[in-house]
Amino acid sequence: MSRIEREELPFDIVFVGAGPASLAGALHLANLVKAHNASGGKLGEIEIAVIEKGAEVGAHGLSGAVMDPKALAELMPDFLERGCPVEAPVGEDAVMYLTGSSKFTLPITPPPLNNHGYYVVSLARLLRWMAPICEEAGVNVFPEFPGQSLLYDGDQVVGVRTGDKGIDKHGQPKENFEPGVDLLAKVVVLGEGPRGTLTKELTSRMNLDRRSDPQVYALGVKEIWELPDDRLAAGTVYHTLGFPHSSETFGGGFLYMMNDRLLDIGLVTGLDCQDPQIDPHHEFQRFKTHPWIAGLLDGGKMIGYGAKAIPEGGYYSIPRLHTGGALIVGDSGSLLNGQRLKGLHLAMKSGMLAAETIFDALVADDYSMDAMLRYSQKVKSSWIETELHEVRNFHQGFEKGRMAGVVTTGISFMTRGVFPQRLPIHAGHLRMKTLTEYYGRTDVKKYDMKFDGKLTFDKVTDVYHSGASHDEDQPCHLKVVDTTICTDRCTKEFGNPCERFCPAAVYEMVGAAEERRLQINFSNCVHCKTCDILDPYQIINWTPPEGGGGPNYKRM
């Protein structure tokens, strides 16, 4: 394409990704500016924008979720009175250990998993409730506009370029081509969730992870089931360990009961296990065949599906969260407590701390690296630091398998995280072993389960229930640098793990012998980011598709 004329739209602050961190941050900032102006301050009108790649706010919002309301209560003490759509306060709360055929309920719920005083929520619903509140406060919320790249002046971030729309599959502009625009901003806040596109770009350019451990991820695969009766009370929360995971695999299951007889059921599988054959979606299907779970689901109907990566690295994987003109919030910044299985409160709090930093920067009219450093300092002196520091060795313990992990977690709890030494951690794609290393042979087929279409579903059926869709006439948004690696090396070495780790059947090796090649069914993509994370050669680059594409989560 010839050079594109791009419009520049000046804003003051741009948040990328309308998740809990950005929406809490944008609202907090709007409130701070309003209070300042009302008491005679000179800031005047501050234009705040939140851009979001989903078709609407919440469409890409997926979490368990049990929410610790700590941050939301700081932002909006009357959140319940204002109609916050919590499903139910947590009621029965138990942790089970599953073997293939039975379950053992832990006699006491481990303190980090004690959820009393918290709420079962649907993140997709929570975000849909927060967005109009932000808009009422004067924030501009723009769904269907992904952040494509960052704009710089030297090393100072000065804005975001949104994605182009109306490009055909050959990369040519269509009749309705609408070029992305340059949103100029004094500060850009990256709240893209795990493995954010712009966060990845900024981290690499500014070496933000120079002093931190690599990030490790898990993949949460989840369905929503409509149960035929009131067999579980709203607010019931169960966590499981054990089946279906082997003892070396990090992860566990969750069952959270919402209203309307709707059950969240999901399985978290570490994206750092050594087995190149691991298939988190398949593990989740096996999970549901456990007699206890199959019994709970009996007579019910699966009505929703989704998947999303979870940053599990924790404290030591937190990159530098600031640079000149930009801040990183929420999951993008590794601000998630893997031990408590919670990130919503940390995301919201980080967004609010970003807002406070930005407010000070606006007053001082200084957006330099030094001014932004205040954000990292605020995080350090907040309860985010206290909470994440105590569980700083949680995930590391699991690198040696479940037993080691449980022991480490126990010690960690008693000593508030103190270990003789800092435990090492490794990025998932580096831990994956080749077929020969792991199995001693290459003709391996780990799974042979048949999906019955009632209790267990194949990926394509599940994806249909995620509401995922993309305009097919656009360039594939999953950029594979060199597909000859797929056939020449990967088939032999790892057996094309993309076919299995992707929970949406996006990657498929098709054709026989000489004709064999990678086919990318990008329209299935649920934006979980697993391919970008786990591909052992790191040749898959997840980029945002045309705005509005992706899953359409309603109650996830």
């Binding site: 419009e7 739209l9 078709a55 609407e56 469409a59 501009n140 723009f142 269907e144 506009f145 949104t162 729309k165 109306g166 269509k174 009749e175 309705n176 609408e178 625009v181 949103l183 009505i303 229930h465 509401g467 869709s469 359409n552 309603k554 109650r555």
Partner: protein, 260 residues
């Protein structure tokens, strides 16, 4: 040239439909909504005519408060203002009562052209536009897949899609009403600047009483009795015996089932 475009907000086509508790409609709480597909083509066609002839594009929508999302999108794409008929008695009407409501709101505007989509993606009556034309005493053409206007905008020539690969060109003087088929053009995207600008565009909220519509005018002549997902049933019964026995058995089966 003043063009009114009727736009309806409907459930997203690829959403999973679930029937509500009293089996009269789909459960809307679990759905996302968007502008009716053919209406978006109607809007695009209107915006192109405005670019050619100048004038104004007005959006008319009947629907609950949350239809404002669809109205804002139309304004962001370039419509100048909107009329939102938002009132409990105006929601869930049949095609006649809907057309009557639209006529009451659009009539006083005296537009040169009125565009509707061919049909709605949810109810699919395909009648609202045609009824509206009759109520306003305007000529109309339905299923329009191409459109030409004279330089002065006084006449329009429309290509209609007929059955089986046949087409028809019709000409008429404005004011007129056209129901637009999907695919007539390539609808534009709302730009960010357009979305910002849409906030300042006027949306005229109308209730049934503002439009002078009483209960009589708004009585639907039809209602959905029960909504259900078609049950796939197939039964085969083999009748055994010689021809006479089989014929007799067949006749008695047909009688039993009230077919003859």
């Amino acid at each position: 040239m003043k063009i009114v475009v009727c736009i309806k907000q409907v459930p997203r086509r690829d959403d999973l439909l679930r029937i509500n508790a009293d089996k009269t409609w789909v459960d809307e709480a679990s759905l996302s909504f968007e502008a009716n597909e053919s209406d978006t083509y109607a809007l695009e066609e209107a915006l192109r005519l405005k670019e050619k002839h100048g004038g104004e594009v007005v959006v008319a929508t009947l629907g609950a408060a949350d239809a404002s999302k669809t109205i804002k999108e139309a304004l962001a794409k370039g419509a100048d203002r909107a009329i939102h008929m938002c009132d409990a008695p105006l929601v869930g009407l049949d095609a006649v009562a809907t057309a009557r409501s639209l006529a009451a709101a659009i009539g006083p505007e005296s537009p040169d052209l009125i565009f509707t989509g061919l049909q709605s993606d949810d109810l699919g009556y395909g009648q609202t536009g045609v009824l509206l034309a009759e109520m306003l005493g305007l000529p109309h053409a339905s299923i329009v897949i191409a459109l030409e206007t004279s330089e002065d905008g006084a006449t329009v020539r429309a290509k209609r899609e007929l059955e089986n690969g046949w087409f028809q060109w019709v000409s008429m003087k404005t004011p007129a009403l056209l129901t637009i088929q999907s695919g007539i053009n390539k609808p534009r995207y709302a730009s960010l600047k357009g979305i910002m600008g849409a906030k300042k565009k006027p949306v005229d909220m109308k209730t049934a009483s503002d439009l002078g519509l009483g209960a009589d005018a708004l009585t639907s002549r039809e209602a959905i009795g029960t909504l259900y997902i078609p049950v796939r049933e197939k039964q085969t019964e083999m009748l055994e015996g010689d021809a006479d026995t089989v014929a007799a058995a067949l006749v008695s089966r047909l009688r039993d089932n009230g077919i003859i």
